[in-house]
C-alpha cells in the first residue's frame, strides 16, 4: 500500500515537472549520420545546426535557449525508432525533426511520435501515405514538396488547354506511380479523362511496345512522366508512329538535353510543370550564411528543406501557448498566416518574428525554399510554373501562384 502511494506521488511529480517549462528547451533529431545515406546527410545536419544557431541568436524559444539533441539512425529502422523513443520519453523533447529514409520515418511516426503526440517535421521523406493515411493524426509535417503539387498543376493545365482524353506513360518507380495517381485523381475531377496508363522500365533500348499500347487508346494528348534519357527514346518513337504533338512533361525534362536529344523542331510547344523555385533575398541569405559558416556551397538534396523544418519548429514553439504537442501542432499552421507580416531566414529575421509574435501579430515565413505553408495533411504547397519549349528554348509560360494552387487543391480534394 505504502509502495503504491510512493509510486503515485512519483508519477504525479514527474508529470508536473513535465508541464512546467524549463530551460533549455530541447528539440530532438534523428538523421542517418552513418550508413549509406551518410554522404548526403553531412550537409543536411549542417543545415539543421545552422538553423538552431540562428534560432538561439535570434532569441530562442519562449526566452530559453534551444538545445538540439541529434541521434544517428544508422540507416536502420529499429535503431532510428529506438533513438526517437529515447528522445521523446527520456529527453522529453516536445518537437522532433527527421529523418531521411521513408523506411525509418514511417515506423517513427506510427510507433513513437504520433502515439506520444510529438510534432515531427522531416526534410526529406516523400512517401505519400505518411500524410494521407491518418496514422500521424496531424503530428507529421514535411517541408519537401511531394509530387502532388506538380501532378495537380499538370492536370489543371491539361484541362485548360482543352485536352479531354489523355494517355499517361510513366516510369515504374514510386515517383512515377505517385505522380500518376495524383494526376489521375485531379484530371478526373477537373473534367478530363485518363484513357490509358502505360508503365515503362528504365534503360531499355526501345519503347515501341509501350508507345503502341498508348496510341491504341486514341488520345488527344500524352503525359510523359520519367527521366530525360528514356524520355528522348519514347518521344521519338511516339512521334514517328504518328502520336499527337500535345505532349505534357514532368519537371525532369526541363532541360536542354531533352530538347536537343529529341530535336528542337520536333518538340515545339511541348509543355511541362515544375515547382516554382522562389528565388529572392531570403533564399540568398540562407545560401550565404551556409557558405560563410561551413566554407562550402549549400547545393544538395534536403539542405534547404532541413533548414526550414527547424526554423518552422522554432517559430511554431514561440507561437504555441505552451510546449505541448497539440499546441505546437496547431502553431505550425500559423507560421505562414494569410495576413501575416513577412519574415525570412537568418537570426535578425527570426528576432523580428519573435517581436511580432510577442505583440500578438501574425507572421508569414518565407524560408530557404520559399513560402512555407502546410495543407491540411501536413504537406507543403508551393507555387508551380508552366514552361514550354519554343524555338529550342525552354521558357516560362505562366506561374501558378500559391493561392491558385491552394484553390486547385480544394477543388480536387473536396
Amino acid at each position: 500500500m505504502k509502495l503504491k502511494t510512493v509510486f503515485i506521488s512519483v508519477f504525479f511529480a514527474a508529470g508536473a515537472a513535465h508541464a512546467q517549462q524549463s530551460c533549455p528547451v530541447k528539440v530532438g533529431g534523428v538523421l542517418p549520420l552513418t550508413g549509406s545515406m551518410a554522404p548526403i546527410t553531412k550537409k543536411i545536419a549542417q543545415a539543421a545546426e545552422l538553423a538552431f544557431e540562428h534560432i538561439n541568436a535570434g532569441g530562442g524559444v519562449k526566452g530559453c535557449p534551444v538545445q538540439f539533441i541529434l541521434r544517428d539512425d544508422q540507416g536502420q529502422p529499429t535503431v532510428g525508432v529506438d533513438a526517437a523513443k529515447y528522445l521523446v520519453e527520456v529527453e522529453r523533447v516536445p518537437a522532433f525533426t527527421g529523418t531521411i529514409s521513408s523506411g525509418i520515418t514511417g515506423p517513427i511516426i506510427s510507433s513513437v511520435t504520433a502515439p506520444s503526440r510529438v510534432v515531427q517535421i522531416t526534410c526529406c521523406s516523400t512517401a505519400s501515405p505518411f500524410t494521407l493515411d491518418g496514422r500521424s493524426q496531424g503530428y507529421f509535417f514535411r517541408t519537401i514538396p511531394t509530387s502532388k503539387t506538380q501532378a495537380y498543376a499538370t492536370a489543371s493545365e491539361t484541362v485548360r488547354r482543352g485536352f479531354k482524353k489523355t494517355v499517361v506513360i510513366y516510369v515504374n518507380t514510386d515517383f512515377g506511380t505517385d505522380m500518376l495517381r495524383f494526376y489521375k485523381a485531379a484530371v478526373t475531377k477537373l473534367g478530363g479523362e485518363v484513357v490509358a496508363e502505360v508503365p515503362y522500365n528504365d534503360n531499355q533500348p526501345s519503347y515501341r511496345a509501350e508507345v503502341t499500347r498508348a496510341l491504341a487508346a486514341k488520345p488527344e494528348s500524352m503525359l510523359l512522366i520519367g527521366f530525360p534519357k528514356d524520355a528522348v527514346t519514347i518521344v521519338r518513337e511516339w512521334l514517328s508512329l504518328g502520336g499527337t504533338k500535345n505532349v505534357a512533361l514532368n519537371n525532369s525534362m526541363r532541360t536542354l538535353d531533352f530538347v536537343k536529344g529529341v530535336g528542337e523542331k520536333f518538340v515545339e510547344d511541348f509543355f511541362g510543370m515544375d515547382n516554382a523555385q522562389v528565388a529572392g533575398p531570403h533564399v540568398d541569405a540562407f545560401n550565404k550564411a551556409f557558405e560563410d559558416k561551413f566554407k562550402h556551397d549549400s547545393k544538395g538534396p534536403g539542405v534547404h528543406t532541413q533548414y526550414d523544418a527547424v526554423m518552422v519548429l522554432g517559430l511554431a514553439m514561440n507561437i504555441a501557448k505552451d510546449l505541448s504537442g497539440p499546441s505546437i501542432r496547431e502553431a505550425v499552421r500559423q507560421v505562414h498566416a494569410v495576413n501575416g507580416a513577412l519574415v525570412g531566414t537568418g537570426p535578425a529575421e527570426y528576432k523580428k518574428a519573435l517581436d511580432l509574435i510577442k505583440a500578438g501579430r501574425p507572421i508569414k515565413y518565407f524560408g530557404a525554399t520559399g513560402p512555407i505553408e502546410f495543407d491540411k495533411n501536413g504537406d507543403v504547397t508551393g507555387p508551380a510554373l508552366v514552361w514550354r519549349i519554343t524555338g529550342g528554348q525552354i521558357v516560362t509560360d505562366r506561374t501558378i501562384s500559391i493561392e491558385d494552387m491552394q484553390a486547385l487543391m480544394r477543388r480536387v480534394e473536396n
Binding site: A14, A45, Q76, V79, D82, G106, R135
Partner: protein, 316 residues
C-alpha cells in the same frame, strides 16, 4: 522523468524480446544443429510481410491489405514462413557450412528485393502503413499499450523458450546435437540427417517469421528497409555474444547487444555536441564493434556457454 525512463525501458524491452525470439530461432539452427543460416532477415521479412498484407486496412491500388484479425495474421505468418523455409530447405539443406551460408544469404537478399519491387503487393519503397496494433483502442497512453504488448511478447517468448528446452532435451534434440558434432556418425546409426536438418531449419525459420509478424504489429509499419542484411548480422552477433547452443544465452545476447547499440547512441549524443554528431556517430559504430570483439576475446563461448545437459532425465 522517471515515468519517461520507465516508458522507454518498456519499449526497449519489447524490442529485446522481438530480437530474442529471432535469436532463439537461429540458435536452434546454428547452436544446436550447426546450420549456417545467413538469411535470417529473409525469413523475418516473410513473416512480417505476410502479417502486414493480411491485416492492414484496405487501401487503393493494393492487392493485399485484407483487414483480417491479428491472430490470423500471426498464424498465417508462421505458416508462410514454414512453407518458404521448407521449399528453400529442400534445395539448400544438402549444402554444408559456408555453402549454405552463401545460398541463404542470396535468398534473403532476393526476398528483400522482391519486397522492394513488387509494389502492388508490398507498397514497394513506401512500405505498408496502417497495420493494426492489437487492442490499441483499449489503452489510451503509449506506456499502457507498450506494457500490454510487453506482457504479450513475454508470454510468447516464455512459451517458445519452454517448448524449445523440452524438445532439445528429447531424443529429437539429441539427434540435432549429434548431427552438429559428427554427421557421418549419425547417418551410420541409421538416422536421416537430412530430415532432421530440414526440420530444424523449418522450425527455426518459423520462429523468425513469428517474430516478424509480432514486430510489424508492434510498430504498425513495415518497409523493405527493415530487412537489410545488417539485421542478419545483428542477430548473429547476439547469438555468438550470448552463447551459441544455449537458449538462455540467446536471450541474454539479444539483451546485451541491443543494450550496447542503444546505450552507445544515447551516450554519444550526451557527450558530443550536435556540430560533431557525424564524428560521434562514427565513434559509436566503432564502439559497438570494439565491444563485440572484446567480448569474443574474453568470453569465446559467449556469456553463458552451452550446458552439458543432454536429457531432462539425466541431470548433470
Amino acid at each position: 522523468m522517471l515515468t519517461g525512463i520507465f516508458s522507454y525501458l518498456v519499449f526497449f524491452a519489447c524490442i529485446v524480446l522481438l530480437l530474442g525470439l529471432v535469436t532463439l530461432g537461429l540458435n536452434l539452427q546454428w547452436g544446436f544443429t550447426g546450420l549456417f543460416n545467413a538469411g535470417v532477415a529473409g525469413f523475418y521479412a516473410i513473416g512480417a510481410y505476410t502479417h502486414a498484407i493480411l491485416t492492414a486496412a484496405p487501401q487503393l491500388n493494393f492487392l493485399g491489405n485484407f483487414g483480417m484479425p491479428w491472430i490470423v495474421g500471426v498464424m498465417a505468418a508462421m505458416a508462410t514462413t514454414a512453407l518458404a523455409a521448407w521449399l528453400i530447405g529442400l534445395i539448400t539443406i544438402r549444402l554444408r557450412g559456408d555453402y549454405l551460408a552463401i545460398a541463404t544469404f542470396g535468398i534473403a537478399v532476393s526476398i528483400q528485393l522482391v519486397t522492394l519491387n513488387w509494389e502492388g503487393l508490398t507498397g514497394g519503397s513506401q512500405g505498408v502503413t496502417r497495420i493494426p496494433k492489437p487492442l490499441s483502442g483499449v489503452f489510451d497512453t503509449p506506456l499502457a499499450y507498450n506494457l500490454w504488448y510487453f506482457a504479450l511478447l513475454a508470454a510468447v517468448v516464455a512459451l517458445v523458450y519452454w517448448a524449445l528446452e523440452r524438445i532439445l532435451r528429447s531424443p529429437w534434440g539429441r539427434v540435432l546435437r549429434a548431427i552438429r558434432e559428427d554427421e557421418t556418425a549419425v547417418v551410420a546409426l541409421g538416422k536421416s540427417a537430412q530430415r532432421f536438418r530440414l526440420e530444424a531449419f523449418v522450425l527455426g525459420s518459423t520462429l523468425m517469421g513469428l517474430a516478424g509478424a509480432l514486430y510489424v504489429s508492434f510498430i504498425g509499419f513495415v518497409s523493405p528497409f527493415d530487412f537489410l542484411p545488417i539485421v542478419t548480422f545483428q542477430i548473429w552477433a547476439m547469438l555468438i555474444v550470448g552463447g551459441s547452443g544455449n537458449n538462455k544465452g540467446a536471450l541474454l545476447g539479444a539483451l546485451v547487444v541491443w543494450a550496447i547499440w542503444a546505450a552507445s547512441g544515447a551516450a554519444v549524443a550526451k557527450l558530443v555536441p550536435p556540430s560533431h554528431a557525424a564524428q560521434g556517430a562514427a565513434i559509436q559504430v566503432i564502439l559497438i564493434g570494439l565491444v563485440l570483439v572484446l567480448m569474443l576475446l574474453f568470453r569465446p563461448r559467449g556469456l553463458v556457454g552451452e550446458q552439458a545437459v543432454v536429457s531432462r532425465h539425466a541431470p548433470d
